[in-house]
């Protein structure tokens, strides 16, 4: 009986989380996806998410990294840790749904694409594009 109750409780918790996330999922799709061209390639980020990120770091440089293999929270955790150690990085956002990592750098920083690429690779993931957004 105890096992049955425990299983029922776990299933109820899972169903509750699923319902919560389906609502969140619908909400995020109300925004439009940015298709601005940067470095000859579509930016393809979630508009609402991107706007929130940019507005939190006015004046900073924004870098959008397209990452392959970023399929779970655990895979992405090292990215936040790695870039968090860089004092010139002012904000980090990981979007698992689009496979994008947003970074903001202080305005005087020279963006080193090779270093960004290496940091992603060192976390076991691959970079397909690094786009520096002109503000």
């Amino acid at each position: 009986m105890k096992k049955f109750l425990l299983a029922a409780l776990l299933l109820a918790a899972t169903a509750s989380q699923a319902a919560h996330h389906e609502m969140g999922h619908m909400h995020s799709h109300e925004g439009h996806v940015h298709d601005t061209m940067v470095d000859g390639r579509k930016l393809s980020v979630d508009a609402e998410r991107f706007d929130n990120f940019v507005s939190a770091v006015p004046g900073d440089q924004i870098v959008v990294i397209s990452v392959q293999g970023m399929v779970c929270d655990f895979c992405a955790r090292g990215i936040e840790k790695t870039f968090g150690k860089d004092s010139s990085v002012t904000k980090i956002d990981v979007d698992l749904a689009s496979g994008k990592v947003l970074l903001s750098y202080s305005p005087d920083t020279e963006i080193d694409r090779a270093s960004i690429d290496k940091n992603i690779l060192n976390n076991g993931l691959n970079t397909t594009a690094i786009q520096v957004v002109e503000k």
Binding site: Q17, Q68, C72, G124
Partner: protein
């Protein structure tokens, strides 16, 4: 990382210098022989394939006893996952500790919802195992939850009872 299962309880700490391998120390208490099995472990990433929506890995794992080098194991393990689906396998040979064990397992999973980064993530899984000591396949449900750097995985089978796996990534 801590595991409690039908055959063993263990605590495992590992450090990953780079993506290709990790080194660890494991303290395992074997429920069959009743003996402790402290060991040094190596996990080597043989192959990884990243795509926009998936990741596939193949690992070689090995461990050798710190107080008795005849105690050792080696395993080949692999997984493939997307944000929604998971499939993994393992083939493990354990020697020493008074017996020889060859265990094969497969695990399949589905995420009922797609959480964002930092959310509580949930996986509904099914695992199937077979070893040469008890030549019968057992299949049981597993629930996996993780949030941030913490993961808990709980499986239950009436024959082997609870199988609990805790992990924290620093």
């Amino acid at each position: 990382m801590a595991n409690s299962g039908a055959q063993t309880d263990n605590i495992y700490w590992h450090y990953t210098p780079n993506i290709n391998y990790s080194l660890g120390l494991d303290y395992q208490r074997d429920k069959i022989s009743g003996e402790a099995f402290p060991s040094a472990r190596l996990t080597y990433l043989i192959n990884r394939k990243n795509t926009a929506t998936s990741q596939r890995n193949l690992y070689l794992k090995t461990g050798i006893g710190l107080d008795n080098s005849t105690n050792h194991f080696y395993a080949l393990a692999g997984d493939w996952e997307t944000r929604r689906l998971f499939a993994g396998f393992s083939a493990k040979q354990v020697s020493g500790m008074g017996y020889e064990l060859f265990e094969q397992s497969v695990k399949l999973g589905i995420a009922p919802y797609l959480g964002a980064y930092g959310d509580l993530h949930t996986w509904l899984m099914i695992e199937s195992k077979k070893d040469n000591l008890d030549d019968r396949r057992i299949t049981y449900p597993v629930l996996r939850f993780f949030k941030g750097g913490a993961l808990i995985e709980v499986g239950y089978h009436k024959k082997t009872d609870w199988d609990v796996h805790l992990m924290y990534r620093f």
